[in-house]
Symmetry: C2
Subunit: 315 residues, 2 copies
């Protein structure tokens, strides 16, 4: 797997980024990914500032390879996180769920590489204007919070062709080396993979959550809770209750009440498969066992190379 502008930008071996996910991607997962030659990201979204600081300290002890963090911009104590990013000299920040104008300039002034997650040409253009170094283009397939536009990875990557000049990292629905090759064929210079790593040995998610993913087959996830914030997850008792409200024409406030707080922690971290949100991407259909990050990397790279050989010979 040759280098791209993405491997150059981050100083990594493979153009494979591990998505910064709530309740899955602490220092343990992120450092394992970085140590394998990809880019590991600490997912700040589910961490209190003190927890984040602990993870920063552990991360620095666990790898000397490049790594970064993912910061959802709706984070309530954003300034505390920004301070920690500066204090610990974090070199790569992925921002998401908000405008790229909020923090890009401040990060760039400190020499930090900034990547922003988008699901449309509109936001990709906004990123480029804001001075972002690269974008993650995330499709409808992706787990967790998602865009209401519902544009799939295949269409989004085609939409973006010739529209922006900064490099694109494809995300959503990537679960094999051949999918990486497909994304490269569509102009992406790297991929961001979430689900495979959410179900890895090093993921801090609960074993119940990982086992649930393993038993999930095709069509096993839905994009739900669209009235509040579209989220891809595995349906369960909680989403059935949400659906009962929907079909009885309850108000959005009633739905918000039912959703409450802490559903993703309950599902992913506590392993409560009835009451929690079991957020995962559509590619859960292909995940059949809990593998180490090292094994996942070997698999992806072998598949990619064999498919590339096939393409070279046959096409």
């Amino acid at each position: 797997m040759k280098g791209t502008r993405i491997t150059d930008l981050f100083g990594i071996k493979y153009p494979i980024v591990q998505g910064g996910m709530v309740w899955c991607s602490g220092w343990k997962l992120a450092s394992a990914v970085s140590n394998c030659g990809g880019l590991g990201l600490i997912g700040i979204g589910s961490m209190h500032p003190e927890t984040f600081e602990e993870h920063l300290i552990k991360m620095k002890e666990s790898t000397d390879k490049p790594w970064g963090v993912n910061l959802p911009l709706f984070y309530p104590e954003l300034e505390k996180i920004v301070d920690l990013i500066f204090k610990y000299n974090v070199k790569i920040v992925f921002t998401s769920a908000g405008s790229p104008n909020i923090l890009t300039k401040r990060f760039k002034e400190k020499g930090i590489i900034v990547v922003h997650v988008v699901a449309s040409i509109y936001f990709a253009n906004k990123c480029e204007k804001a001075g972002v170094d690269a974008i993650v283009a995330e499709g409808f397939e992706a787990g967790g919070h998602n865009s209401p536009l519902e544009t799939t990875s295949l269409v989004l990557l085609q939409d973006l062709q010739d529209k922006i000049s900064i490099p694109i990292i494809a995300a959503g629905g990537i679960g094999s080396g051949s999918a990486i090759l497909a994304c490269r064929s569509l102009g992406a210079e790297g991929v961001q993979i979430g689900s495979l790593f959410a179900c890895s040995k090093e993921s801090s998610a609960h074993i119940n959550y990982k086992n649930k993913i393993i038993e999930t087959g095709e069509g096993g996830t839905i994009l739900d809770i669209k009235e509040i914030s579209p989220t891809r997850l595995i349906p369960n008792k909680f989403t059935e209750e949400m659906n009962s409200l929907r079909t009885s024409c309850a108000s959005v406030d009633e739905m918000k009440n039912l959703l409450g707080k802490g559903r993703s922690k309950k599902g992913i971290f506590k392993g409560n498969l009835d009451e929690g949100e079991i957020e995962i991407g559509q590619i859960a259909s292909r995940i059949n066992s809990i593998k180490s990050v090292e094994y996942i990397f070997k698999d992806l790279i072998n598949e990619y190379n064999s498919q590339l050989n096939f393409i070279r010979k046959e096409l």
Copy 2:
């Protein structure tokens, strides 16, 4: 663009099939596609048996290249259509929207090549058992009637890897040569393209419909009418009315009443953009002009070759 099992199966030059679409793909579009080296399909879904017969006669006059028909299995006068298929010695039949067991055996006994459209591993396996020659694997991106599973083309093609041995034609979200290459990377041996051809000069759709597609940007289609039959289309006055019923908790029967009959004819063929169904795929976002089939083919093949060269050199 080299041959595959799909080009061998049909005896065509390029592994590009034009989707058999209602109100768009009569003899004019299908013969233009076949004459360009792809496989043109007459879409029977919107034709009375007499109309279908006229198209068969015209088709035979318009091309000496291989061509086929697309038959939705919920067609009310199925036997009349089967008789015409036999009478006019149609050599290739794509079936959809039903079980592959309904007609495959009868067609195969007459030496007809049978392809069935699926959106899941489950139905792909069923096809293989039924003796189908190839499948179309159609993702969430596709226009018109669609699967409730909502599996995208990227995920569906990965799901199908190593699951079936008959060749796969990818469909849904394909609007460029690089998308064809991506599908080949994911193991498909051909592609079926709908939207680009629906908006072509040779499509029998109304000019209002084509112009509406041209002005449609990203996020411009939705998968709607899920309570009755999931359909991808451009939202309009009709879908707003449908949504009013939905949000006021109307029954499915009330929705069926509103839907009535002939909405797709009204939208696609009569060009009534308010009252009709404007069925089109998500890739409508990339369609910016009405092109001839010949131009579309040149574009696809040039893009494919330049992207393939890039892959060969850079990866």
